[in-house]
């Protein structure tokens, strides 16, 4: 279990090193491998969030799919907010509501909360076990189940497949 965690950190750091350097000389790569290895060994005992990653074809596919869904929602949300800002009467109906999530993994919950923050008129104010408190620019419903269906579900059903 621990090996997987360290390997995940190692791979992420190595890919960041390659992106930073943008060149593939052999000595650059050797330094990158050594550095990533050392950092992942030192930090690996503390950073356990990568344990939840699954390395499989399915999860990679769903990650890419998630990225597309998310970018589409991002654009949609911005158009929505832009419409509200440009309307002279400022049509807003704000409030803080509760929703639920079934995700258990920390990583998945962080991605979920970040996605909610970036999508149509919603902002995660607090997270407490499986309850997410969300500030909506346009409150649809105060009932917890309806709100969950409206806001959380579209991301959650993909994230469940990646992080289980």
């Amino acid at each position: 279990m621990k090996v997987k965690n360290i390997a995940a950190i190692f791979l992420i750091l190595l890919s960041i090193w390659i992106l930073l350097n943008n060149q593939f000389q052999i000595e650059v790569m050797i330094i990158g491998v050594i550095l990533s290895f050392v950092i992942s060994i030192i930090m690996g005992s503390r950073i356990t969030v990568f344990n939840e990653l699954k390395f499989s074809f399915k999860s990679v596919f769903y990650t890419i799919w998630y990225l597309f869904v998310f970018l589409a929602e991002l654009v949609k949300s911005n158009l929505d907010v832009a419409r509200r800002v440009l309307t002279p009467s400022l049509p807003i109906n704000p409030g803080i509501i509760k929703t639920k999530t079934v995700l258990k993994s920390k990583m998945g919950r962080m991605i979920l909360a970040n996605s909610i923050t970036l999508t149509p008129g919603t902002l995660t104010v607090d997270i407490e076990d499986d309850i997410l408190y969300i500030h909506c620019i346009d409150v649809c419903c105060e009932d917890i189940d309806k709100a969950t269906a409206a806001i959380v579900d579209k991301f959650e059903k993909i994230l469940v497949k990646i992080y289980g």
Partner: protein, 232 residues
Amino acid sequence: MVKNSLIFIVLIGFAVLLADLFVGFNGNTDLNTLANHYAVSGPEEVGSANLVTAVVITYRGVDTLGEVTILFLAAAIVSFLLKVEAGASLNRKLRSTSEILDTASRILVPVIFLFGIYVFINGHLSPGGGFQGGAIIASGLVLMLLAQPAKEVGHKLITLVESISGISFVLIGVAGVLFAAGFLDNKLLSLGKFGTIFSAGVIPIIYIFVGLKVGAELSGIITNLHENQNEA
């Protein structure tokens, strides 16, 4: 009233002084002699693509040594003034961190450390160097402390890293006297191929030590302040 006019006089004095210095300054169109020498012969003499690094480490290396010493003194005085009793770890009421911040910090801290190390290893090729890299590493430590305040940071480790890198910095300088042209001379190692990561003689090694030293000093200041926050 008298005091206010006094302040105005001081301000006007400064304004006149500065204006007098810069009146008629209309921008440079060419480098002066010294800068021209550094720019033209710097790449061959030192082998560093980043001329600022060449000036900081080689041409004005002793300045850097003094600068690091000043920073060391500042950090030492801060830790002396903020001395806390041993074993008095965190005992104060804090609001718990948000879970999202906690997870994000766990992902970001290794990335920040890697970026800091990238900055000072590539100090002779791209902008940055020991000072910036050290500051970035200290910032990573700050993010760690903000997200997990109960974390213990080893003072011994910080002191150890700091003294080892300081001593190594000076020893490399002395080795320059013994085996090359002078103190902190970078031709201790061969200059290598210009523009690659193993080039510019000992500059990358010196910058690694400077980076570790600056990072350790700034981290020392930060951890001292962090542990001094307990009530009364």
